[in-house]
């Protein structure tokens, strides 16, 4: 490259002060360049420092962190040696930021348009009416519905995908030379993600802006970036063109990341016997939330859901957020009382609510929640968390109980001495294992897994899936696996239910989802999953069937 890079980061070190006052180096000498008009992706798991690096390009560090040494240059601005007044003038015009969660980054008490054009107000770029006209143009370019009037709404009145595109408009209004995207599609459904990605890509290409794209998702990055920087523990592991990283990774960690992506085909464990009694049979289930009126709740979520789950087999439930997946898990677990329909467990009717169930039914049917952070009591040690179901279901006490706790920890591949720690002293993956061990303590036959890998990094999530499979072999369990991530479901399930607006639109065998899908929504969902392939987004766009389905939405 003979051209002078637009952004150059040289030997960046960022330090953080821990609660105990110790200094920890979180970015350890990172260097990379971004050429004009180029999109560079920073890839890594949580804690790899990718967001810290991205924010430092704007001269900003989160509370407790500071740039210890190194040079950052953006255009002609030496970011690391600017005063706070110069930085304020530089932010918004020289470099702009698209946040991870637009829902949190929009001020809930101000209208959208006021926030989108705020950069022009702060930097006195243009008159208000001009800024509003420009905003409407951007809304249109980003494919937002009702571009003329959407700005008059408050943030809570538009959808998550729309907010994410609005946040891109907010970043682009000041004509920045560099835009930083901080995991902008992580919080979105796949069907929404594809729209947002397409909008970003076309606007960036049209304006020729350089970009830095922070993500943990290689498949997403493959669609938008030209070059990838792989980060781990605050250090660059590997840097190269997208094709090189995807096809000829040099570094072991990059290979791990790619392997975690490979769809592992699942082989059914349980033998299907035609006359065998299903483990769980759900019959025309209706459930909802809110105050009841004429025996039916005001907000109806599940409508007429029926399915069978055979012993030793796994059922996946997929659908976008708001489709009723988690509600189904809660209704089967008895946390939410269905108002119509029933479920049979081992051929016997399952009580509607938790209070209506026998202790044995409760024991055989366990649920694992998405966020181990909120599901584990932060004040209890791991031992007392695991001991509670042991005492409740099996009446274990004293030495026997302790032996069983150690056994359970061993089952989820954790060392025995971890039992004296508190949840906050464990990593995210370890916490999720404890969460699972707590369900196992009851010795269940069915485990309802509600998005249990969604909050985890790719490599950690892959390890949890392996663990689930091993446990199934050892303990003859069945899983009902709720997820929005189809590749996860593909990796562990035998059958899949596709849900849309509280109804099951289709039941498919997991191994042949894409071939057998008939319902338009299932097809859309399956084709929206990004592939590890740089041309995927463009090819999907060109597909006339797909385009027609997107237009219907």
């Amino acid at each position: 490259m003979t051209e002078k890079p637009h952004v150059s980061v040289k030997d960046l070190h960022v330090n953080a002060r821990t609660d105990s006052g110790r200094m920890v180096e979180i970015i350890k000498g990172v260097s990379f360049d971004v050429a004009p008009g180029e999109m560079v992706a920073l890839i890594g798991e949580s804690g790899s420092g990718k967001t810290t690096i991205a924010l430092s390009l704007m001269g900003h560090t989160r509370t407790g962190c500071h740039i210890a040494s190194g040079d950052i240059r953006v255009g002609d601005n030496a970011v690391t040696s600017m005063t706070s007044r110069q930085l304020a003038a530089f932010r918004g015009t020289g470099v702009a930021y698209v946040p991870q969660s637009a829902a949190a980054a929009f001020n809930p008490s101000k209208r959208i348009i006021d926030q989108v054009i705020e950069i022009t107000v702060i930097h006195h770029l243009m008159s208000r009416s001009k800024a509003e006209t420009k905003a409407v143009e951007l809304f249109r370019a980003l494919g937002l519905p009702n571009p003329e009037t959407i700005g008059k709404r408050y943030p809570h009145q538009v959808s998550g995908g729309q907010l994410q595109r609005l946040s891109a408009a907010m970043a682009l209004i000041g004509d920045p030379e560099l835009v930083i995207f901080d995991e902008p599609t992580t919080a979105l459904d796949v069907t929404t993600q594809i729209e947002v990605l397409r909008a970003f890509k076309s606007v960036m290409a049209k304006k020729g802006i350089s970009g830095v794209y922070v993500s943990h998702d290689l498949a997403v990055v493959a669609q938008v970036a030209n070059r990838i920087v792989v980060l781990r523990g605050g250090e660059v592991q590997e840097e190269g063109d997208v094709d090189q990283i995807l096809n000829e990774p040099a570094h072991d960690y990059t290979k791990d990341l790619l392997n975690a992506f490979k769809p592992a085909t699942h082989v059914a464990q349980g033998q299907r016997e035609a006359d065998a009694e299903p483990l769980l049979e759900v019959h025309e289930l209706y459930a909802g939330y809110g105050p009841t009126k004429d025996g039916e709740p005001v907000a109806k979520v599940l409508k007429d859901v029926s399915f069978k789950l055979e012993r030793g087999r796994n059922l996946g439930v997929i659908g976008e957020s708001g489709s009723g997946k988690s509600t189904l898990a809660r209704a089967v677990a008895g946390i939410l009382k269905p108002y119509r329909g029933y479920a049979l467990f081992n051929g016997k009717e399952l009580g509607a609510g938790i209070k209506d169930r026998t202790k044995e039914q409760l024991q055989k049917n366990q649920i694992v929640f998405q966020l181990a952070d909120t599901a584990l009591n932060p004040a209890h040690s791991i031992e007392s968390i695991l001991a509670r179901p042991l005492a409740f279901y099996h009446g274990l006490r004293g030495a026997k109980k302790e032996r069983r706790v150690i056994e359970l920890l061993d089952m989820v591949r954790l060392p025995a001495n971890i039992r004296h720690r508190l949840p906050e002293e464990l990593s995210g993956g370890q916490k999720q294992r404890i969460n699972l061990a707590r369900a196992l303590a009851a010795e269940p036959e069915l485990i309802l897994c509600d998005e249990i890998t969604s909050a985890l990094d790719t490599v950690v999530a892959a390890a949890i899936l392996d663990l689930l499979k091993e446990l199934q072999r050892e303990l003859s369990l069945s899983y009902m696996f709720i997820s929005h991530d189809l590749s996860t479901v593909e990796a562990i399930c035998d059958d899949v239910l596709v849900m849309l607006q509280g109804e099951v639109v289709e039941a498919l065998p997991a191994s042949e989802m894409s071939q057998k899908a008939q319902h338009p929504y299932s097809k859309l969902l399956i084709s929206s999953i990004p592939k590890l392939d740089t041309g995927w987004l463009d090819r999907v766009d060109a597909d006339p069937v797909f385009a027609a389905q997107m237009a219907d939405r």
């Binding site: 924010l55 704007m58 900003h60 930085l87 304020a88 003038a89 530089f90 932010r91 918004g92 015009t93 702009a96 930021y97 946040p99 969660s101 949190a104 980054a105 929009f106 001020n107 809930p108 008490s109 101000k110 705020e118 950069i119 702060i122 930097h123 408050y154 809570h156 907010m170």
Partner: protein, 339 residues
């Protein structure tokens, strides 16, 4: 209103509010009336509690009024005349109906209508509370928001030390010390604040200065701390960080982005502190010999003047409830998601 006018009025209304907006304002109306209904219900429950709590006070009113030397016949006669032999619940209903008509009853102690007794005292109390509010609320908001804006700066530390020391010093100490300093040593201000002899503006300033300073110390500390906490909480949100990344100045971040979202908690903190100014100022009223309602109620307790006690209690409750309801309404109005 003529039919034509009504149609025109309706058309203007329809044009002014799009369908969606009128739906929102209807929702708002429901919310506001809910709040008011809850306040009213609370008031009825409190009136019940107040009435029966005063009933439980030991001693027979007729006996106390007539003194130890009264004959049993005289006491019985007085009881009959005062209607004390009626069942308590009947008397409660009569009292409640009277209250809704603005009839607070007759004082036992000096046979004057309670409304008259309270009237002058309430005016005094409200004057004092009003002046204190005018002084303390702007000062507290300024200090609280400032401390949040420049968190961990010397200014913030100074405000923290100041508020904590003011909270920990009891108000009688502040009052006594200020009398000692300003009235006795420096001889700048009168030691007593007679509400009556305020002639000119400077007289009023002099008369109110010390009670207002004392009361401001009491109510400001809490307001400053709550304001600071509420603003800091919103400063730590992603949307304020977003404003920073847009290049907003610190002032803009706090005043435009953080403050509107902290209004609800701040309004509640202010209301809670101010509600103290009507009924809770007995110490200040005593030390500065200020004739307000708090003192009236204490006098009423010592003379066992039940109707007066009840009326004062209801008065305090009304002022408290209206402040809290007002704060709730501000919280609803400042939040588009509740609006």
């Amino acid at each position: 209103m003529q039919a034509g006018q009504a149609v025109l009025f309706w058309k203007v209304l329809r044009r002014g509010f799009s369908l969606r907006q009128s739906f929102i304002s209807l929702y708002l109306l429901v919310q506001v009336s809910k709040r008011l209904a809850i306040a009213l219900l609370t008031l009825v429950i409190v009136s019940f509690a107040v009435f029966f709590a005063t009933e439980l006070l030991p001693g027979d009113v007729a006996q106390i009024l007539l003194g130890q030397a009264a004959t049993p016949e005289a006491v019985a006669g007085l009881r009959e005349a005062m209607g004390l032999n009626e069942p308590a619940f009947h008397r409660f209903l009569f009292w409640l109906i009277g209250l809704t008509h603005g009839d607070l009853g007759i004082s036992y102690a000096n046979n004057m209508p309670i409304a008259e007794l309270i009237h002058g005292r309430l005016t005094n109390s409200l004057k004092l509370a009003g002046v204190t509010t005018l002084v303390s609320v702007p000062v507290s908001l300024f200090l609280g928001i400032g401390a949040a804006m420049w968190r961990n700066s010397p200014f913030d530390r100074m405000v923290s030390v100041l508020t904590i020391s003011v909270i920990s010093v009891p108000e009688f100490m502040v009052a006594t010390l200020s009398v000692l300093i300003f009235a006795v040593w420096l001889d700048w201000l009168p030691a007593l604040s007679f509400g009556a002899d305020v002639g000119s503006f400077s007289d009023m300033l002099r008369a109110y200065a010390m009670p207002v300073i004392t009361l401001s110390c009491v109510v400001s500390a809490q307001m400053i701390r709550m304001t600071r906490a509420a603003v800091i909480e919103t400063i730590n949100t992603p949307y304020v960080e977003m404003a920073l990344l847009k290049g907003a100045s610190r002032t803009r971040m706090v005043l435009v982005h953080a403050l509107p979202n902290a209004l609800g908690p701040i309004a509640n903190a202010v209301a809670l502190s101010l509600s103290y100014l009507v009924g809770g100022v007995i110490i200040v009223e005593t030390i500065f010999n200020y004739p307000g309602v708090a003192k009236l109620m204490v006098d009423a307790v010592s003379t066992r003047d039940l109707p007066l006690i009840q009326s004062c209690a209801m008065l305090f409750c009304v002022s408290y409830l209206s402040l809290i309801t007002l704060a709730d309404l501000i919280a609803i109005l400042s939040n588009p998601r509740l609006r």
